[in-house]
């Protein structure tokens, strides 16, 4: 039984990981919390839906699923780049203080969520079921196919991200800019391009996350508010660390599944909040232990 819960937890955690890493990417580069990420996920969930309906006439099952994912991922990436251009670029160029990024990201998030509300109005949408069977059995354990795919594709997306970050030129540029924007500029890296690329990557992850959220929780405009799980995961993992966000997310998924078993879904936000508080009291830097030390 516990093993079953563990598997469910890991699968849930992998969705949270997508959210958390997308969030952590921006935090690492621009040093601010991008609160519009939630709104982006709401939008991409619906983009995915539209794609699944459109292509659903021609293909089914796994190919349709992949196409949906790709559509949402691309849509998310592009949307994120637009968001950056509209909401953040001017602030970056005029060296504004963090407050403005904050307001801008919140507003952008609300705007995106609201546009989904207008689009969806009171209609109820949900993804078509992509697969005939819903469960695979491994002996006594059963894994729901959506969960398995979530885990596989999340893992795949994150692996691709790591490959891009550590094996490509643009990835190197992103990493250098995150350490020291000034020097990166001097070394000839165009910060605008790097930032745009980072947002694209973050948007792609958000897009994939949006689809999985849409599958797991059905489609509704406030879907993106599950971003708070990504926040909590980042806090547990340690703000400023992508690997921490990953670990934190998986842990959060596991803990949450166990808790829902214990206290029911209704109380889980409360318990998660308490866990977060306790964690912050005991280990404020999070799991990864990264502190950004301020110099005088």
């Amino acid at each position: 039984m516990t093993l079953q819960l563990l598997i469910n937890g890991i699968s849930l955690g992998s969705v949270y990981a997508l959210i958390a890493v997308g969030f952590a990417l921006i935090f690492n580069i621009l040093k601010f919390s991008n609160f519009s990420h939630g709104g982006l996920m709401s939008v991409t969930a619906y983009i995915g839906y539209v794609a699944s309906v459109f292509f659903g006439r021609y293909i089914k099952a796994l190919p349709l699923f992949v196409v949906t994912l790709v559509a949402a991922a691309l849509g998310g990436g592009l949307l994120a780049m637009v968001v950056e251009r509209v909401a953040f670029r001017r602030l970056r160029n005029s060296n504004s203080s963090v407050i403005y990024y904050f307001i801008s990201s919140i507003t952008m998030g609300i705007l995106m969520e609201n546009s989904v509300t207008i689009f969806a109005s009171s209609n109820f949408y949900s993804y078509p079921s992509f697969f005939p069977t819903t469960v695979i059995r491994f002996g006594a354990l059963s894994v729901a196919i959506p969960d398995l795919l979530t885990f596989l594709f999340s893992g795949l997306s994150l692996v691709i991200l790591l490959v891009v970050l550590f094996r490509t030129k643009i990835g190197l540029a992103i990493r250098s800019t995150s350490f020291d924007t000034g020097t990166a500029k001097l070394m000839g890296m165009d910060p605008n391009r790097v930032v745009a690329a980072t947002f694209f990557a973050s948007g792609v992850l958000g897009g994939v996350a949006g689809v999985f959220l849409g599958i797991n929780y059905t489609l509704y405009p406030q879907l993106g508010q599950l971003i708070v799980k990504g926040f909590v995961a980042s806090v547990i993992g340690g703000l400023g660390s992508i690997s921490g966000a990953l670990i934190g997310a998986v842990l959060l998924g596991i803990v949450e599944i166990f808790l829902i078993g214990l206290v029911g879904a209704g109380w889980s936000p409360v318990v998660i909040f308490v866990i977060m508080l306790v964690f912050l009291l005991l280990r404020p830097r999070g799991i990864s232990g990264v502190i950004v030390q301020e110099k005088a």
């Binding site: 935090f27 601010f32 919390s33 609160f35 509209v86 909401a87 001017r90 602030l91 005029s94 504004s96 963090v98 407050i99 403005y100 904050f102 307001i103 801008s104 919140i106 507003t107 952008m108 609300i110 705007l111 609201n114 546009s115 207008i118 708070v228 926040f231 909590v232 980042s234 806090v235 703000l239 209704g266 109380w267 889980s268 936000p269 409360v270 998660i272 909040f273 308490v274 977060m276 508080l277 912050l280 009291l281 404020p284 950004v292 301020e294 005088a296």
Partner: protein, 286 residues
């Protein structure tokens, strides 16, 4: 006419909440997504005590504010020593947790269906007096060692500590005052609308208040007041475009952000001196 009074009453209640955000975000630079949770605490505690337990109204209100204070301590104590971003996330979680508690205690609070049947006790004069008192307190706070030190720590926390400012305690004190004030606004709120449900207290409300402060000019108390009146009154008149109301709201904010980031009032306050000079100019022209 009655419509106007009702709008003004609601604006006044919102203003008290915005004042809290002004103190926490404008003066001290903390982004608390949980301010609306204090509103919820004030509303629900006072309503339940009055309706279900027969407390006299002033006592119910007082207890609600004390609970708000306690909640503020619970959230604030661990949080103030954390980095800025953590404060946002923790207060966010706090807000969501409160809503979850309200949703799950249906036997007391009515759960997601909400709490109804609360008599209307809030009158416009009461709100007006409350607003005046709160504004006065915030003015006094801003022009005191507390206000100055808050601005200092908002600006440069490290330098503030080097000047001997106990940054953590100051953050906590400001947070608590704002929490108590907002809880009070919650009491006014529930006894005005006579019905509340948990969904009305989400993080979006806290975010809206922050946006109001920002549009008015994050450093300006006058700006916060003016912006509240404008941005609360305006949607009422945009009723017809209700679907697009929020979208228009957001676009306006984004425009301000890009083209006049310091907000309507920037750093300026309307002070007695300013009004005097304005008066003199007008008298001179006559």
């Amino acid at each position: 006419m009655e419509y106007l009074v009702s709008t003004l009453t609601f604006t006044g209640i919102t203003l008290i909440g915005v004042l809290g955000v002004y103190m926490v975000t404008g003066l001290t630079g903390l982004f608390s997504f949980g301010q609306a949770a204090f509103l919820a605490i004030g509303a629900y505690i006072s309503a339940v005590l009055y309706k279900n337990l027969g407390f006299p109204l002033p006592l119910a209100a007082f207890v609600a504010m004390v609970v708000g204070l306690a909640a503020g301590l619970l959230v604030g104590l661990p949080t103030v020593r954390l980095r800025r971003d953590y404060i946002s996330l923790v207060t966010f979680g706090f807000g969501e947790a409160i809503i979850a508690v309200l949703n799950n205690t249906a036997n007391i609070t009515g759960g997601a269906m909400g709490l109804s049947g609360v008599p209307q006790r809030t009158s416009f004069p009461l709100v007006l007096v409350s607003v005046i008192v709160c504004v006065a307190v915030v003015i006094s706070y801003k022009n005191s060692k507390y206000g100055r030190q808050c601005l200092a720590l908002r600006n440069d926390e490290l330098a503030a500590k080097s000047m001997g400012i106990n940054v953590e305690r100051l953050k906590l004190v400001t947070f608590l005052i704002a929490g108590v004030m907002t809880s009070f606004a919650g009491v006014l709120y529930v006894f005005y609308t006579t019905y509340v449900e948990p969904g009305a207290f989400g993080w979006v409300i806290s975010a809206e208040w922050m946006i109001i402060v920002f549009v008015g000019g994050v450093n300006s108390l006058t700006g916060a007041v003016v912006a509240t009146v404008l941005l609360t009154g305006l949607p009422e008149f945009l009723r017809f475009a209700s679907e697009w109301r929020i979208a228009i709201y957001c676009i306006v904010v984004l425009l301000i952000l890009n083209f006049r980031p310091s907000g309507i009032f920037g750093e300026h306050e309307i002070s007695l001196g300013f009004l005097r000079r304005l008066f003199r100019k007008g008298a001179g022209a006559a």
